[in-house]
Amino acid sequence: MDASIQQQLIADLLVESFEGLDRYDHELLQIESGTAGADSLNVIFRVIHTIKGTAGCLGLSHIQRVAHTGENLLDLLRSGGISASPEMISALLKLSDALRSMLRSLEVSGSEGDADHSPLISLLDRLQEPLGAVEPLVPAPVTAPASSPVQPQAAEPAPATSASAPDAGFGFFDDEPASVPGPETLFTAPVPAPKSFPEPAAPSASPGAGAGAPAASVASGAPPSENAGRSNAEDSAIRVDVAHLDRLMNLVGELVLARNQILQKAGVVQDPTLLSTAQRLNVITTELQEGVMKTRMQPIGNVWTRFPRIVRDVSAELGKKVRLYMEGRETELDRTIIEAIKDPLIHIVRNAIDHGIESPERRAASGKPEEGALVLRAYHEGGQVIIEIADDGAGINAEKVRARALRDGRITAEQAARMPDREAFHLVFLPGLSTAEKITNVSGRGVGMDVVKTNIERIGGSIELLSELGSGTTLRIKIPLTLAIIPALIVTSGGERFAIPQVSLVELVRIDTAGEGRGIESLYGAPVYRLRERLLPLAMLDRELGIVPAEAATPGSEAGSNLIVLQADGRQFGLVVDEINDTQEIVVKPLSKIFRSLTCYAGATIMGDGRVALILDVLGLAQRASVLSDATTQAAAIDPARAASVLANREKLLLIEAGGGSRLAIPLSSVDRLEEFERSRFEWSGGRQVIQYRGGILPLVPLNRLVPNLPEPAESTDHAQVVVHSSGGRSVGILVGQVSDIVEEEGSERAAGDGSGLLGSTVIQGRVVDLFDPTGLHLSSL
C-alpha cells in the first residue's frame, strides 16, 4: 500500500482505537461495579476485535497479537463460557493499557515499540482456563492451543478449510461440500478447547459439540440476534470531518456579517417589505448559527468516560476508597473546549482523591462512611456550562493555606489576618503553593492548580473554590459554550477598532478629570486610577500597541477618557481607550502563524462594515503592559484579598437610590453602560420619551414603570442617570434616580421574586435591597 495512505490509515486507527479504548475501560468498570448494560460485553469485544482486525491489515503485528489474546478471553466472556472475575477485569484493564502504550508509541515514533507484553499475554491466556486453573505456579497453560495466540498465524485454522485456496485466508461457500458438518468439524478442532463450550459446567465436551449448525447457534446465537434492528442515539451518529464543520462555521460567520449589514441598511431605508424580510433573515440566520454550532458540540461524557478508570487507579494507588458519581454527562460543549478542559479536569480529580478524600481509617474515625464520594456534575446556567467537581473529604484548612502563603511571602501578616476563609482558599491557585503535607506521586508537587486555572482562563472560563473543613471541597468551573462566536466590546484607539472579549470585562468607567479631580494619577511613574479606594494599574491601549509614541501623552492629561476594567489571571487592571463603541457578537477567526509572537491578539473578526478588527488577548496585553507582574509597584498596590474575591466571581451589583429611601440593585452583567444625560436632551417620539444616543434613538423608561411601588423619580437635577440595557439587538435606557455604588453580593440567600422584573431581595451592607434584573423584560413592548 502507498506509504502516505498507510500513514493516513494509521492516523485513523489511532483516533479510532483511543476512542474505543476509553469506551472499553468505561464499560469494563461498569461490569466490575455491576451496573453494566446488556450490551456492555459486546461493546468491549467489538473494540478489541476492531483493533485487532485493523492493526493486522496495517501490518501492526504486535498490536494485533496482544489484541488477539484479549479477544479470545472476551469472546469466552461474551458467549457466557466464563464469568468475569475481579482478576479478569484487572487483566483486561492491563490489556487496554498495553494497547494504549503501543498505540502511543506508534503515534510518537511510528513503531509499535518493543515492550515485552508476553506476561500479559500469558495472563490473558491463563484466564481462559475454565476450571479456575489460575494457580500462579502454572504459568504455562497445560493445553497446547492456549499458547497459540502468541503466533496468530498458527492459530488460524480456518483458511485451511477453504477448498479453493488452502492457505489464502478466504474462501467461497460454493467450493465446499454441501454437507455442513465435515469441514466445520475440521476447523473447530484445533481451536482452544474451552472456546466452544456453551457453559462452563461442560468443560469436557468435545469440540464437536459446536460443530453442527444448531449447536453452534446456541454457542453464540444470542448477541447477534439481540443486536439486529436495534438503534440508539449513539449509533445514529455519524462522523464528520472537523475541517468540514470549521468551514461551515466560517460560512455561517459570513452569513451573520451579511445579515448584520442588511439589518443596518433595513433600519435606514424604512421599507416595510425589506424590514420584514430582513427580520425573517435575522431569525433564520440565528437558528442556523445555533444549529451549526450544535454540530461542533460534544457531550462532556466523552471526556468523563476516562474518569472511572482514573479514579479506580488513583484511589487504589493511595489506598483510598472512592465512589464516583457523574451527573449531566450529556451536557454539551464545543469540541475545542472539551479538548482544552480535559487535562485540567483530570488534574482536579486526582487532586481531589489525593488531598480531598481521607483514608478509610480516618474517615471511619471521623464518623464518615469509609468510601468517599467524588461527584462530577455538569449543567447549563445562563449561557455558560458549569462543571463541578465535589468531594466529601477533609476540606481545605484555610488557616494552613494562609500560613503557607504568609511563609512564602505571598501575603502580609495583616492581609492574612483579615482575609476571609473563602478568599484564602483561592490562594491555592497561586503558582508554587501547595499545602500537601506529604508529596505523593499523584499530586502535591506544587505545580498544578495554577496551571489548571490558567488553562481554564485561557478559554474564557473561570474557576471558583468552595470548601468546608471536615465536610469537603467543591471546585466550580464556568466555561463558555463555544469559542467561535463570542460577545465582545468594540473599542477604538488611535483610529483603529479592537474587540475585547466580554468575558474579561469587569466594568466600564468614564474618567472625568473635570469632576472631583479623580483622574489618572501617577504612582512611581506608572499610571494608576483610584477606583473605589483601590489603585488600579493602567495600560493605555494606543501606547501599548505603539499606535502613538509612548511619550505623546503624559499620565493625567487624558481628560475625559474611557477606562475599561479588565480581569486577567485573577487580577484587574484598567485599559484606557479613546472610545467605547458597542458590544457585539463576533465571529472569532484565527490569525496567521506569522503573528504567533504577538501575544496581545487573540484573533481577528470581520465587522459589520466588512473591515477586519483585531481581537485583543487581555492576558497577553496585560503581560505586555506589565500591569500584572509582581515586579511592578502597581501590582503591590492591589489588595490580594480583593483579587481573590474577584476570582470567586461573585456577582456585582449596581446599587441605586430609587427615591423615598428605597434601594434597588441591578446585576452589573445586565448593565451595558451607565450614562448621565442632560434632561434638556430628552425628546418625545410616538408618545414615549427618547434620546438621541450613539447614532440611534434610545427609548427611555423610568424605573418606577418597571418596578411596582416605587416613587416617581425626582427631576430636581438637570442631569438624569440612565442604565443602558440591551438584549436581542434592542436597547433601552432606564432612568434610575441616583446610582450610589457598585457592590458585590454578599452571598446571603436571595429571597424569591414575585415574577415581575424583580428577582427577589438580598442583603447588602446590612440592608435589605430588592434585586431588579431588566434581562427578562420585553424591550419591544416598552
Binding site: 500500500m1 485513523d12 480456518a158 478466504f170 461457500f173 466445520e184 453452534a216 439486529a228
Partner: protein, 122 residues
C-alpha cells in the same frame, strides 16, 4: 464502467483500508457503517458486490445478508463476509444466511483483490 463495491464495517479505519485497496484496483467504493445503513443505501441503488463485517452494532453482517437475499435485486449479488479465525461457527451461519464467501481478518490487500477477481470476473 468501473464496478461498485459496498463495504460495510462499523470500524472507520477498516472501511478505509478496504476502500483504498479496492479503489487502487479501479473499483468504485461506497461505505456503510452497519447493516441498517447499508440496507438504507441499497434500497436506492444497486452495487456489484458487498463486503461486510459480521460483528456490528444495529444490524450484523449475517442479518444484512439474510435481508438482502430476500430482495430480488440482491438475490445473486456476491456478498463476502469479513470474519475472524476465532469464529468458525460464524461461517456456518454465513453460509446459512446466503453469503458467497468469507475473508479472514486481518487480510492482505492481495487476498481481498483475489476474492474480488473471483466474484467479479472482468
Amino acid at each position: 464502467m468501473p464496478k461498485t463495491i459496498m463495504t460495510v464495517d462499523d470500524a472507520l479505519t477498516m472501511r478505509k483500508v478496504i476502500s483504498f485497496t479496492l479503489k487502487g484496483a479501479g473499483f468504485d467504493v461506497i461505505e456503510a457503517q452497519d447493516g441498517v445503513a447499508a440496507l438504507g443505501v441499497l434500497k436506492g441503488r444497486a452495487v456489484d458486490a458487498i463486503i461486510s463485517d459480521v460483528n456490528m452494532p444495529n444490524m450484523d453482517g449475517l442479518e444484512l445478508t439474510r435481508q438482502l437475499r430476500q430482495l430480488p435485486a440482491f438475490a445473486r449479488t456476491p456478498i463476502i463476509l469479513l470474519t475472524t479465525e476465532s469464529d468458525p461457527e460464524i461461517k456456518n451461519r454465513g453460509r446459512a444466511a446466503g453469503a458467497t464467501g468469507w475473508i479472514v481478518k486481518p487480510f492482505q490487500p492481495e487476498q481481498l483483490l483475489a476474492v474480488m477477481s473471483r466474484v467479479l470476473p472482468a
